[in-house]
Amino acid sequence: MSIMKDRMLLIIFAAFVLAAPLIFAPTGAAYPDLLQRFAIYGIFAIGFNILFGLTGYLSFGHAAFLGVGSYAAVWMFKLLSMNIIPALILSVIIAGVFSLLIGYISLRRSGIYFSILTLAFAQMSYNLAYSVLTPLTNGETGLQLRLDDARILDTSLAAGELPSTNLFGLPMKEVFWNPTILGYELQFNWGYYVCALLLILSFWISIRIFRSPFGLMLRAIKTNQTRLNYTGISTRPYTLAAFVISGMFAGLAGGLLASMDPLAGAERMQWTVGGEVVLMVVLGGMGTLIGPILGAVFIKYFENIFSKINEGVLHGWVAFLPEWLDNIFVTIVSPFVGKGWHLTLGALFMIVVIFLPGGLVDGAKRIGRGITGANRREAKAGKK
């Protein structure tokens, strides 16, 4: 039963992801760059959810793995080939090793100490990338491709032109199909579909982990770690495994970011980026399968669309109102949109944490139950 359900979920999810350029068209978000961001941060959030959602260990340091993944991928582009496969593989491996190191130390402590330790590590990695390891990371300029890079596998490149990232010759930036459907001009590009396939794969892995005995163990750690310890089970290997898995997901996301746009900067490692993925997972619904992706899409959508709403747009919306009412509306709303969208995000996040700890998914479920009347039925059943 449950297996069938999961399979259905996966199929629906895959169909939705593959049709995303069409589905998002009416919302104004259906351009490749933003769609890729949805998918990449979706992967990042899925990975983070495996750690935070299942074990309850709140890490603020996952930006470091994202950044490490990006750096590894760009180095691969510089040294080996513009094909994204080796770059992605290396970024996952490097991020895995890095997270093993950081996880091994941070997981010696739990609770708040763990959060603070990961926070310190994230900031340390940021400082390392920003200044200390400049030969490796190119400091504040960020790591970029150059004409005289080695690229030993790519021999037949046109001279004097920076090559673009590709998958066995399919350039990531190329729009391969550009139809007009229902009046919307759609863009289907290779880059998004690479991200989409990896997102579906990540989602599948996440389902498998959720349903596995390993996932059950992780949930047990969240519920009561002390009891596990008393039963004679050492929880460290499990938490460390979860930490490394989520680190590898973050590395994959970082590698994908670099594959879509081959540069890597230290600002990707700042702990506030790690805070953003926390926002995504909590907003969407931690510990749920689909929640993290919802949260990632939600935040990235707001970041790119909401932040473009300025006073002129607002006036346009309420043009039918009398002018004084119009002005009042715009004065009240404008601090919350445009450049102030972070304020909305922060406030929304607080509201979710305070009133809806299960996130948007939980909210949707509650609304759904309210409509179908399941609550009342359950209450009745409880009375009997």
């Binding site: 709140l58 010696r108 603070i116 400082n127 200390v132 390891l133 102030g340 996040f349 305070i354």
Partner: protein, 347 residues
Amino acid sequence: MDAILLQVLNGLDKGSAYALIALGLTLIFGTLGVVNFAHGALFMLGAFCAVTFSKILAISKVVIDPEKTDFLGNPAKIKTPYVEEWFGSFGTFLIDFAVPVSLIAAVPVMILIGIALERGLIKHFYNRPHADQILVTFGLAIVLQEVIKAFFGANPIPQSAPDVFMGSLDIGAMVGFAENAIIYPYWRLVYFFFSLAVISAVFAFLRFTTFGMVVRAGMADRETVGLLGINIDKKFTIMFGIAAAVAGTAGVMYTPINPPNYHMGMDFLVLSFVVVVVGGMGSLPGAVAAGFLLGILESFASMPLIKDAISAIGLPSIDQIIIYLVAVVVLLVRPRGLMGKAGMMED
């Protein structure tokens, strides 16, 4: 020798800021058991109290002088701040001393903000997991800094120290080194002594007043104090207000050293957490000691001599990450921190 003294002095002002913020964090942590990610934001709010105060003082009456013209040929506007007009030379003094005087306004404002936060928000999170407390205060920090950004803009707003403290003190000459070997700005010295005063005031308050005694008892065993018929929640709320005020005053006095901007709180927050962890969760003397220690250590690591020595053995300069390295080593070797109790907040 003089170089070493100079580095110690250089580390003091940053160390003072770390110590003050970490002290407030530990106070909140020790009393309410809440990790306050918004504490950096409180530091920032304090700094912007000073900004607001000096802006209010600088509100001026504009008189157009028809006889003089400015460089564009328009009639010159002569601005006289109202305080100066009303109080004469005392007004001038007020404007000059805007930063320290704004402490008078900042302390009650910060205490009120602290109490409002505790009663309005954090109170509801005592029975929720620590992760939720971290999340909600993190969200609060974002909201606070975005509100400040909406009002004051994203650029740093420089504040000046009073004219009396503008120069530098030649400490080297005073203690027998060559002249100009150790020069230290007056205001940083003021900041150091100010932080010492605040820290000792907090310690004295906890040590020598009945209120402080009850709070310490509550920190040790909240339930028993409650059973004795003392309303410990009320006292802890006030302690939250005091902790907010400590962070706020630290922010006020820091404005001449570093022009305040809306994200200064987040920048200090991470380091203050590291300080608290190194000092030992819940230990007030530990937080203060670790604050100064790490501040001084940071300035030593950025010393040219040491930088050269490190690069000589083939390592990159570590002044940017020394604090984090120390934190990692301390946590591995002595997990409870320098002065912490074992098993604190380990669930």
